[in-house]
Symmetry: C2
């Protein structure tokens, strides 16, 4: 039987009533003749409660112990969901990440899935069970519990889809799908029916919260189709596939994303010499801080200016590290700014339609929006601007590129 992997996030299973609704959705899909593997997050609020407990003991708690703690959140939901399915008359069994055979490396709190031993999952599907698996968590080969970091359940779902050669990976959320931009910011925002994983990757890594970038990357790599849809509605959501066969004519821009969770770090007046970037970013990487945008250029004095963005929660650590590097490198100045927003326009159509970037910049300039950083890729243009410009920028761009269609 074809395997369908479904993933339900915290808001979808935030109460016993909601778990019962989710069980009905699962049963509907099972009754269509599919084998069902269901990946769940912790109940909404549960993870935050555990984080607070830990932080009240130690602001920077042991990573290993933190993962032992956090992984209980999903362990609670898998058992409750399995009980609910059993009560409704279906065979169901829950697995923790460890029981499901999800092996990760041993970077606590931010572990990466290395392999999945699918034999146990397969065995129980063959016996007619609905298999319920804890997302967000895994186990090292030494038996240590790990978690995958924010949004890790999406990654779990996609990785399991790959391991089970699933027909489709359905990610259930509290929104109807992927939108051209955030509907709370722009009234003209529209749902997208189909999108390539490449575009989705750019959109999601730029802060569109619907889907975890790592999950999209994974799905694109192994050509797994992901469908993002609402737990509480009946729509068909947004389908994300490696190749977009459905659209005859590609839209130039598929969406506008933004990210308020970043901060900008700048080091000025660094002697311009080979290896300077790695001397600056090496210590940042050692702190396990993800660097997003990176811009380097050389000033009139022949000295280099180097700017990059990091998650806002890593701002203080990043700044400290950069100040240490600055002393070693005899740089002139270190500047940090955590009141920024990154805005990105994404679309595969950019490849064949030149002039998107210049139009973007002129629209922003016409509206007095100052740009402090620019970075481009084949299908994306990102700019960094002051946080206060967010709404205006999104709306004028959405209008200018006719995304409301």
């Amino acid at each position: 039987m074809p395997v369908i992997v479904q993933k339900y996030g915290g808001t979808s299973i935030g109460s016993i009533e909601k778990i019962s609704q989710v069980a009905e959705k699962i049963i509907t899909e099972k009754e269509k003749g599919n084998d069902l593997v269901v990946v769940v997050s912790a109940m909404s609020g549960e993870t935050n409660k555990l984080v607070e407990l830990a932080k009240s003991i130690d602001k920077d708690p042991s990573g290993r112990e933190f993962d032992v703690l956090l992984s209980t959140g999903e362990q609670i939901t898998i058992s409750l969901l399995a009980m609910t399915l059993i009560k409704k008359g279906y065979k169901a069994i829950s697995f923790t990440g460890s029981q499901a055979g999800i092996f990760t490396n041993s970077v606590f709190n931010k572990a990466r899935i290395e392999t999945i031993n699918n034999s146990k999952i397969k065995k129980y599907l063959d016996l007619g069970y609905i298999v319920v698996i804890a997302g967000f968590q895994g186990v090292t080969e030494n038996g240590e519990v790990t978690t995958l970091g924010r949004g890790g359940s999406d990654t779990s779902a996609v990785a399991i889809s790959v391991a089970m050669d699933a027909k489709e990976c359905q990610i259930f959320t509290d929104v109807d799908g992927v939108f051209t931009t955030d509907p709370r910011i722009s009234a003209g925002a529209k749902k997208i029916d189909q999108i390539t994983s490449e575009e989705m990757l750019e959109l999601s890594s730029q802060g569109s919260k619907v889907l975890q970038p790592r999950a999209v990357e994974f799905a694109g790599k192994y050509d797994i189709g992901i469908r993002v849809l609402s737990t509480f509605g009946d729509g068909s959501g947004t389908f994300i596939k490696k190749e977009n066969d459905g659209r005859m004519e590609k839209a130039i821009i598929s969406g506008i994303a933004f990210n308020k969770d970043e901060a900008q770090l700048t080091i000025r007046g660094v002697p311009d010499q080979p290896g300077i970037a790695s001397l600056i970013l090496g210590p940042i990487a050692e702190l396990n801080i993800d660097v997003d945008m990176i811009v380097q250029n050389v000033g009139e004095d022949g000295l280099a200016n180097f700017t990059f963005t990091v998650p806002r929660s890593d701002f203080n650590n990043g700044l400290k590290s950069l100040e240490e590097s600055s002393k070693k490198l005899k740089a002139k100045k270190v500047i940090g700014n955590n009141k920024i927003v990154k805005i990105s326009m994404v679309g595969v159509g950019m490849r064949t339609h030149p002039g998107v970037a210049s139009k973007m910049f002129s629209v922003l300039a016409d509206n007095n929006i100052n740009i402090s950083m620019i970075s481009t890729s084949e299908i994306k243009i990102s700019i960094v601007t002051d946080e206060k410009n967010l709404e205006t920028a999104i709306n004028v761009l959405h209008d200018a590129f006719k995304l409301e269609r």
Copy 2:
């Protein structure tokens, strides 16, 4: 270094502040030059919360899923306690039952420990770690999570003490030790300094809530000394040892216990023939119901009357099973009573002092307390009476046997 095993129950670690106090107690013992293995329960209230969640889905939830759910309670406390010890500057590591190598049979909710693979615990003790282990839980050889049933953390602690050849197993509770009877019922109740495991076993299996009977049995069998003491006081508690070397003259009675958590089931008018007891108790055992007292006698009509007690929570299931047996056996009547209390007098001195039973019965008769069941062992006399007689019975017996000394 000598190994000390400490066990802290739910009320001892019911908040971050209490966990910090517990950590100080652990550190004190560690600083004396001992290797420390600490077994913890779930935070008080946590297990009940999880039970309620499960019961709101299904009154009789899947045993396997129930254990996956319940085991999260201890997983939370082990990580919080380990974090606290680390924050205080000590090396500490937490293990779930599974990680600690505590293997059980696969009777979910009431599993029994079969073996403990102590290599991981030993390894980390040798590296100088304080090892924190989740009580109440284990794992089957197939990797299924199990729980040991009520009071299982005590059993975990003793089993680990055996596996580690511990010098002492310290059970921390919210009372100062074992008392001659419940101080809330009798103002004359006194703390006992030393008691044999045999006596303790009778006391605890008769409902003295301080220590789980299975744990006492285990400790007696492997000659592990258990010390019961208060988390919040500094007393030396009650020491429980196989042989009581300390006391020159044995007291006749060491304590009076009671148990309100039982119910009484009677089947009357059963043809008296070999195998009748197993025909009646077989189906009860199949339901995994623990039978405590058993009394059988033959009436004037040559038919047998058979009475036994079960945990009050199993009353309805037990009654139903007995009614089915009654039809098969063509018995005359089935009677159930769940408003009873069992009162037991315990003491190794009984062996050498005859007349304890007759004195007990006459004291109760003088006070108009009716007895519905009697059962005796070498060092214990138990009677069952109406629940309403509890306080009077305990007090008149405590006085008559001069337990206040």
